[in-house]
């Protein structure tokens, strides 16, 4: 069943289609795109370029993310990035900075340290140069995090795991199960802390949290046993008999391949190994891949509607690669502009061509399929009800409804919250 996401052929450019299950972009494409942006970010400390990268990632996320639960992780990544920036600045203030600077902003009282702690300083002079350097550095890290967050928000982690080779399937299932357990665990903790309050014990504080630990773990254990039973009853772990020869070949290929990969990597890292290392590495990777492929034969599994790598996926991945390539090229052509000096302090300037290159990263906002407007009133025939068990307001997918007018519409309008 070859199914590709065909681009409109000739004629007037048609807008990107609504994303459906079969037209959905391959999650790997989103990750490649985000990695491309991340690579670009790692090549520069220019705050203008980094800001541009963040803006590009943010725009694409706003334009193309779905209303699925994982799509909300973007906001968390943005906050994490800001926290990293803040911590980096705090360190620069408290611990000082190796950057020599003449613009002293303030002088903190310096803590005397013993001799063996030479080179470590607490307090002391805080220079503008040091702070600016730390801010550039922190911004770079934050941009990297935001790029990862963008990939996380745009690509379903479950689907990505589904694209793993068959032999790694069990690992993928374990990860998926762990990912679904985490929110349940948090719900459990909330419920049990509420129950502590019902027993008349304080529900706040660390002690309260610790005392619910055991029941929470007990509950998680029971749930995993129930899930294991359900999975077993639904055919998980069925195997087809394979010949002993095939089994042995698989083992030899995988093991040998891994050995080769190790040797090759070692060779690459040592000075004199650059001659034999690349072919060894290549052979190792090939052997491992062959081993995985043969190993997949033991499992009779088939895949339901696997994601297809179509023309749009190529475009999205290519746009990320292009951004990375432009910045790598600019690294030699615009050395000055990409790493604006801090001693002496100069205002960073925006180099035109690298900036234009970064804008290539906006391509997915045009070509990627548009997430469908989620359930409007009337499209879901049955009245929705909260899951009774938790009683908590589980986040729903339906959005685009007037917010608090109806108790069954807990979803915010797209991107309203995370961008503020």
């Amino acid at each position: 069943m070859p199914r590709t996401t065909a681009l409109p052929r000739r004629g007037p450019l048609r807008p990107a289609p609504l994303a459906s299950r079969s037209g959905a972009l391959h999650p790997g494409a989103w990750w490649l795109w985000a990695l491309g942006l991340g690579t670009a970010a790692s090549r520069t400390t220019n705050p203008l370029l980094l800001g541009l990268l963040i803006a590009v990632a943010g725009y694409v996320v706003a334009a193309r993310r779905t209303s699925a639960p994982w799509a909300r992780s973007y906001g968390a990544f943005v906050r994490l990035g800001l926290a990293v920036l803040g911590i980096r600045l705090l360190f620069a203030v408290v611990l000082g900075s190796p950057i020599p600077g003449s613009h002293v902003l303030l002088t903190l009282p310096e803590a005397p340290l013993p001799d063996w702690a030479q080179g470590v300083r607490i307090g002391g002079r805080v220079t503008a140069e040091g702070l600016v350097f730390a801010a550039y550095d922190g911004l770079k890290l934050a941009t990297l995090l935001i790029c990862v967050g963008a990939a996380n928000a745009l690509a379903s982690p479950f689907r990505l795991l589904k694209s793993l080779p068959g032999a790694l399937y069990e690992v993928g299932v374990a990860v998926v199960v762990a990912m679904t357990f985490a929110p349940q665990l948090i719900a459990d903790i909330g419920r049990l802390r509420a129950a502590r309050r019902l027993r008349g014990r304080p529900d706040k504080g660390l002690r309260g949290l610790l005392q619910v630990g055991l029941p929470v773990l007990e509950g998680a254990l029971e749930r995993s046993v129930a899930l294991a039973a359900a999975m077993d009853a639904r055919g998980f772990g069925r195997t087809t008999p394979v010949s002993a020869a095939l089994r042995r070949t698989t083992g030899a290929l995988t093991l040998g391949g891994l050995l080769l990969v190790c040797t090759g990597t070692y060779g690459l890292l040592t000075e004199d190994g650059s001659g034999y290392a690349p072919p060894l590495l290549g052979a190792g990777v090939a052997a491992v891949l062959a081993g995985l492929r043969l190993g997949g034969r033991r499992s009779p599994r088939t895949r339901y509607r696997p994601d297809v790598w179509g023309a749009r996926a190529w475009l999205v991945a290519a746009s990320g690669a292009a951004v990375a390539a432009v910045m790598i090229w600019a690294g030699s052509a615009y050395t000055e502009a990409l790493r604006p000096g801090v001693v002496p302090l100069v205002a960073p300037e925006l180099p035109v061509w690298p900036a234009a290159g970064i804008l290539l990263g906006l391509l997915p906002a045009l070509v990627a399929p548009v997430p469908p407007p989620a359930q409007r009133p009337g499209r879901t025939p049955e009245p929705e009800a909260e899951p009774a068990a938790t009683g908590s307001a589980a986040p729903r997918r339906d959005r685009l409804r007037p917010a608090p007018a109806d108790p069954h519409t807990p979803e915010q309008p797209p991107g309203a919250e995370e961008f503020t």
């Binding site: 069943m1 299950r21 699925a68 639960p69 479950f158 299932v173 998926v176 199960v177 349940q184 419920r191 509420a194 129950a195 502590r196 309050r197 019902l198 027993r199 008349g200 014990r201 304080p202 029941p215 129930a226 899930l227 039973a229 359900a230 077993d232 009853a233 639904r234 055919g235 998980f236 772990g237 069925r238 087809t240 599994r301 088939t302 895949r303 339901y304 509607r305 359930q375 499209r379 879901t380 025939p381 049955e382 009800a385 909260e386 899951p387 009774a388 068990a389 009683g391 908590s392 986040p395 729903r396 997918r397 917010a403 608090p404 109806d406 108790p407 069954h408 519409t409 807990p410 915010q412």
Partner: protein
């Protein structure tokens, strides 16, 4: 289709078999209902069909179980997955993937079906179960009925010949249960699937069964036979059967419709009698009140404090410390001497019978309550007043706001609008320890309340929490349900016993207001009627009870008042008889059968006839 030959199952570390002498055949294309009290081995029997017993649970299985010709001894559960599909009570525990469509495909992927076949079957199943509009939805965002339908669909796609369901509708509200049962009906009638199903709520399912498989008790051999014939001797039976037995109808009617046709004569006999005032609870309540002296109760604390402080909600400051003081001063229920009788104990019923007396000060007053969780308005403008000795049933769909209202009453949630006062206290601003003596909630999962390793330790902890005399909680447990051993782990108790233990833990602090969230979930009829008796007694002692429940029969039996919530608003509030009789979905079976006469329970009818 499903064949048991002299099967017995003994779990490791147990000397008695959990299931013995099972020898029957479930013919193809039938819906067989497995009936029996809790602990009779229903789950064991169901697990044995899919091979989970003993492959997954351990234990020893003697005899032979064959499904579609395959012996479960030689086939592991995973090798039976295309012959039998198993669905449990909690669909969330069953899901492996994240969206509806993937979940439906999961079983087929494991079997290695061709992609084209999978695609076709998923589409068919989406239509068959009415899930098409939900196909891309994450599973966690579905309602209970939808989740249960997806769980059924997910085992249907490999086209099993038999379907095994363990309490598929127990956790669902009546409408969601109808959804699921309609789907099962369709599978049996249109596709010829064999269905073996266990369910406590017989009033929902017994009419759909082609045959009933009766497990009379632990270790007793199951009997397969005609539903009407077996219901005549079953220890568990729905109200319609209870009425039929009372009236001596034979064969027993299983549906409201069949019973109504037979009921003309009974209605005639009842015509000149009327249901006892106050739902026939007055005399029962007074008999309960005789126990007042021995069980010196929270009612004394509550109404005493409220009465002395005079004006309920206004006099908050004085009411709170005094009632706490009297609570800690009073000795445990078992030890209180006969001198401890106070007017409060027998109060509510005498007051209710004498209309001229001023109504007692309310225990809880809720005015214009609104609660928002995120963007969801879980409650909006709810008013509720609960008086001592009164039992109020909150009913309504899942997600209508019942649990939220209870949480607000016990201070787990802060109101976003309006006020909540329990004996003048504002629950969410009161320290848990202080609140304990005023209001207690038994949550939906009673196990959440229990932390200790043994019943004795749990009781000791409860005494400490409530600052009650040592042994108070243990005495309560013994009084409510004798026969719970001190050294038992709370996990090893049955659902009903666990509920009673949690109830005793909460009652140790003698709260005048007692809240229960879905207390009958997972209880069989015997445990349920015991619970009803306990609650009735507590109400007679002067406790105010508020219970959130889907169980119309329980509400009919014990509630004085019913409040129906819908979409976070209170849409009906009145005496049980009035509210319940007029409602098609909340009317108990006896009411439906004997309408237009206003009888609610079999016990009422029985009383009137004798």
């Amino acid at each position: 289709m499903i064949r048991f030959e002299e099967v017995s199952v003994t779990y490791d570390g147990s000397d008695r078999p959990a299931l013995a002498g099972a020898d029957f055949t479930v013919p193809e294309g039938e819906l067989v209902l497995l009936v029996g009290p809790s602990g009779a081995g229903k789950s064991t029997l169901l697990g044995a069909v899919g091979g989970l017993v003993p492959h997954f649970t351990g234990g020893t299985l003697r005899g032979r179980v064959t499904v579609a010709g395959r012996d479960t001894r030689t086939h592991k559960p995973r090798e039976l997955s295309d012959a039998v599909g198993t669905v449990g009570q909690d669909p969330l525990a069953h899901f492996v993937t994240d969206t509806v469509e993937d979940e439906l495909a999961y079983g087929m992927e494991s079997l290695g079906l061709a992609p084209a076949v999978m695609r076709r079957r998923v589409e068919e199943t989406l239509d068959l179960l009415g899930l098409a509009p939900l196909r891309d939805r994450p599973l966690g965002t579905l309602s209970g009925g939808q989740q249960q339908r997806v769980a059924i669909g997910s085992v249907l796609t490999p086209h099993p010949r038999a379907l095994v369901l363990d309490e598929p509708t127990s956790a669902l509200d009546p409408a969601a249960a109808e959804e699921v049962l309609a789907v099962l009906q369709r599978l049996v009638h249109d596709l010829g699937t064999t269905v073996l199903m266990a369910e406590h709520r017989l009033e929902r399912v017994v009419q759909y069964a082609d045959q009933v498989l009766l497990l009379p008790g632990r270790g007793e051999p199951p009997v397969l036979g005609d539903p009407a014939a077996l219901m005549a001797r079953s220890p568990v039976f729905p109200p319609v059967v209870g009425l039929g037995r009372l009236a001596g109808w034979s064969p027993l009617p299983l549906t409201v419709r069949a019973a109504r046709r037979r009921a003309a004569e009974l209605r005639g006999r009842l015509a000149h009698r009327s249901p006892p005032a106050d739902n026939g609870r007055a005399d029962r309540a007074s008999s309960g009140a005789e126990e007042g002296p021995s069980a010196e109760g929270p009612g004394t604390t509550g109404s005493g404090a409220a009465a002395s402080s005079g004006a309920g909600a206004g006099a908050t400051g004085s009411a709170a410390p005094r009632s706490v003081a009297s609570g800690s001063a009073a000795s445990g229920p078992g030890t209180a001497g006969p001198g401890a009788v106070r007017p409060g104990a027998a109060g509510p019923d005498t007051r209710r019978s004498d209309k001229k007396a001023p109504a007692p000060a309310p225990v809880a007053v809720v005015r214009g309550l609104g609660v928002r969780r995120g963007r969801v308005e879980a409650l909006r403008g709810v008013d509720l007043t609960v008086r001592p000795g009164e039992t109020v049933a909150l009913m309504g769909r899942n997600g209508a706001g019942k649990s939220t209202l209870l949480s607000a009453l016990v201070g787990l949630l802060a109101p976003t609008a309006g006020t909540v006062h329990v004996q003048g206290l504002v629950p969410h601003r009161t320290a848990p320890r202080q609140l304990l003596g005023h209001v207690g909630l038994v949550p939906q999962e009673p196990r959440d309340l229990l932390y200790a390793d043994t019943v004795a330790a749990e009781c000791a902890a409860a005494d400490r929490d409530a600052a009650a005399a040592p042994g108070s909680c243990r005495d309560l447990v013994t009084r409510l349900l004798p026969g719970i051993g001190d050294g038992t782990h709370p996990r090893d108790l049955s659902e009903g016993q666990r509920l009673v233990l949690a109830l005793a833990v909460i009652l140790t602090a003698r709260p005048p207001l007692l809240l229960l969230d879905e207390p009958t979930r997972g209880l069989d009829y015997a445990a349920k009627s015991r619970l009803a008796g306990i609650l009735r007694e507590l109400a007679a002692e002067g406790h105010a009870l508020v219970l959130a429940t889907h169980d119309v029969e329980l509400a009919a039996e014990i509630a004085h008042r019913v409040v129906i919530l819908a979409e976070g608003e209170s849409v009906a509030d009145g005496p049980t008889a009035e509210i319940v009789v007029s409602s098609p979905s909340f009317a108990p079976q006896v009411t439906k059968i004997l309408a237009p006469q206003q009888w609610l329970t079999v016990a009422q009818v029985e009383e009137a006839l004798t």
